[in-house]
């Protein structure tokens, strides 16, 4: 077991290293550099001078060696578009994305599981059919379209919620209770957009998983023993049907990080997705590579955890 863990860990690290290297070279292959501002004053000469000053005119391999050296010393580089060290940028952006995706994940799992179980309990009824249809519809919506529609609907046409950003511009001047309320109000639409689609996915899974578990032997035994239908559903069957959910949670991580990309862009939520998209567009090399490192680390860790949990929960699966 221990050897397996170490082996997986080593493999994961190799994966991260490879992904980092590839992204390092790919982003530098894209035309442009961090200094291509569309400005009436900046001439090519000025750009060349800046490029030389920061070493971007050196051969790629040399740049890579220098980058590895500085990473080894714990310095992830400097972000030109955000005028901070990359570490500072990530320190702020990562928690914001985790807040958004964490909340959405928790909500969608809670709601999704509840809906799925309820559907399984009432399988075949009109409730089941209509819910399935609605879920299928949400599941088929393009995420950027849904996010845009929600923004338009609730921030422009019926202005209940703020249109984008994480906090109001006057947030620092609000008394603590009002500030908290302000943060909450800004969370609602992005979390709702992200949750909408994920919930549909999870509910569908859960329903299928439940439907498969309900005919099992142990359920029949429990029913024969006189356990209430409710207890069967929510305690016995659910526990077994939860196993694929666990794996799902781990595997949702890259998807959630990527899905948050659209949502963060539409709502100007300053998290990892927003930062990464802007960094690519602005050719902010060090920042791009750093976001890739963090992203792949998260995913690899998520996969690892999911597999470990799976092994722990389900004794039949000891791959």
């Amino acid at each position: 077991m221990r050897r397996l863990l170490l082996a997986r860990l080593a493999q994961s690290l190799i994966v991260v290293a490879v992904v980092t290297t590839v992204s390092f070279f790919v982003i530098r292959l894209a035309p442009g550099d961090p200094f291509n501002y569309a400005s009436p004053r900046v001439t090519e000469q000025v750009r060349e001078q800046w490029r030389h000053q920061f070493g971007y005119d050196q051969p790629l391999v040399v740049q890579f060696a220098r980058y590895l050296g500085s990473v080894a010393r714990g310095r992830l580089g400097y972000s030109f578009s955000l005028h901070q060290s990359v570490a500072d940028v990530l320190k702020e952006a990562l928690p914001r994305t985790l807040l958004l995706t964490g909340l959405s994940l928790a909500l969608s799992f809670a709601i999704g599981i509840a809906v799925g179980v309820t559907q399984a309990a009432r399988r075949g009824t009109w409730f089941d059919r209509i819910t399935s249809g609605v879920l299928l519809l949400f599941y088929s919506l393009p995420d950027f379209w849904a996010a845009l529609m929600i923004l338009l609907l609730f921030a422009r046409w019926i202005p209940i919620f703020p249109a984008g950003n994480m906090v109001d511009a006057m947030h620092d001047y609000m008394p603590p209770l009002r500030a908290f309320w302000d943060s909450l109000r800004h969370l609602v639409l992005p979390v709702a957009s992200l949750t909408l689609l994920t919930t549909a996915s999870i509910a569908r899974y859960q329903r299928a998983a439940m439907l498969e578990t309900l005919p099992s032997d142990f359920v029949r035994t429990a029913r024969a023993k006189g356990v209430s239908e409710r207890a069967i559903l929510w305690r016995h069957a659910l526990r077994t049907a939860l196993t694929p959910m666990v794996t799902l949670a781990g595997l949702f991580l890259p998807a959630l990080l990527g899905g948050a990309l659209f949502i963060e862009k539409v709502y100007a939520w300053p998290g990892m997705g927003y930062v990464a998209a802007n960094a690519i567009a602005g050719r902010d090399y060090d920042l791009v590579v750093a976001t890739v490192i963090v992203g792949s680390l998260l995913v690899v860790v998520g996969n690892l955890l999911a597999d470990l949990l799976h092994m722990a929960i389900d004794p039949r699966v000891r791959a």
Binding site: Q11, S12, V15, V18, V19, S23, V26, L29, A30, P31, L136, L137, Y139, S140, L141, P142, D143, F144, W145, L148, L152, L194, L197, T198, S201, R204, Y205, A208, E212, P215, S216, D217, T243, P244, T247, L248, L251, F252, P254, A255, L256, L257, G258, G259, L261, F262, K265, A276, A277, I280, A281, V292, G295, S296, V299, V300, N303, D314, R316, V317
Partner: protein
């Protein structure tokens, strides 16, 4: 096929898809406009729906009905080709990994892990940024080339369990070559979940292509792929509900139809297994089958 038609949602799905296919093929001949020409950029800009222009016109006075119909062709074609490519790549990779096992399997799966750890959208945006403008055939390659990772996992898992079957052992004992075993014995086993995954992928790919156009890295003007038609509407969302609604509706209805078909197919072909062949919020990867029981048992 009969069972599919008998299936309640399956019927609807097939009907919608047939309708889509017909309109994609025949549609462009039904309107007298090409969807590319700008009819009158001053007077007919953003004209609301009317008899002459049932879907209205866009900001360049192009007939939207013509654009949506032609867009159907492009979106469907691109998605079908891309998904076919994904299936072929993923099935090959997964079969080989699952069949031969051992170190080869581990290495191949770690490679898949590496690719899966990058969100597909981000990968596509990065690639398209490097390549600048992308013609349609390259778009097909990119979409197909980034969509096979999950398929390979699915196929590998199925292959792992299938290769222990007695008839496989028998075939090997009879001296059948690896290729023969792979193609004739193992592939049919995988076919069912593969078809389901493929169908679900088509809907996802159409949505993904629209999303890429939304991010500005999709098909070139004046090509009316649904994504770029939708983007044009969004960029001037001054309340032209017809420009936003019709292409958006087209995308949603198509994705819905394919998803319904996928569900129906799964019910018909493969009711036993809990397939995690669903779409995640951004990617079009089909996830692996999580076999609750690696060896088929009788009880369930």
């Amino acid at each position: 096929m009969r069972r599919l038609v008998a299936h309640p949602t399956g019927r609807w799905a097939i009907a919608v898809i047939v309708l889509l296919a017909v309109s994609a093929i025949v549609g462009p001949w039904l309107t007298s406009y090409t969807g590319v020409e700008q009819l009158d950029i001053v007077a007919l800009k953003n004209a609301p729906p009317s008899w002459a222009h049932p879907f209205g016109t866009d900001q360049y006075s192009r007939d939207l009905l013509a654009r949506v119909l032609r867009g159907a062709r492009i979106s469907l074609l691109v998605s079908l080709l891309a998904v076919t490519l994904s299936i072929v790549l993923g099935a090959t990779w997964g079969l080989i990994a699952g069949y031969f096992g051992g170190v080869l399997d581990t290495v191949m799966m770690r490679v898949i892990d590496a690719f899966l750890s990058i969100p597909r959208v981000l990968l596509l945006v990065a690639l398209m940024t490097v390549l600048e403008q992308v013609p349609l055939w390259l778009l097909v390659l990119l979409l197909g080339g980034t969509g096979w990772f999950g398929v390979s996992r699915l196929v590998r898992a199925e292959t792992l369990s299938a290769r222990e079957q007695p008839y496989v052992e028998a075939a090997r004992a009879l001296g059948a070559s690896h290729t023969r075993i792979l193609l004739q014995h193992l592939l049919p086993n995988v076919a069912a979940p593969l078809i389901v995954a493929a169908t679900l992928s088509i809907g996802n790919t159409i949505v993904l292509e629209a999303g890429l156009s939304f991010l500005g890295v999709g098909a070139r003007e004046p090509t009316p792929s649904w994504g770029s038609v939708f983007l044009g509407a969004v960029e001037s969302y001054a309340g032209n509900w017809w420009a936003v609604l019709f292409p958006g509706l087209a995308i949603v209805v198509t994705a819905l139809a394919f998803n319904m078909l996928g569900d129906a197919l799964r019910d018909v072909l493969d009711p036993r297994q809990v397939h995690l062949a669903h779409r995640l919020p951004d990617s079009a990867t089909a996830l692996p089958v999580v076999q609750r029981d690696p060896r088929p048992t009788a009880a369930v």
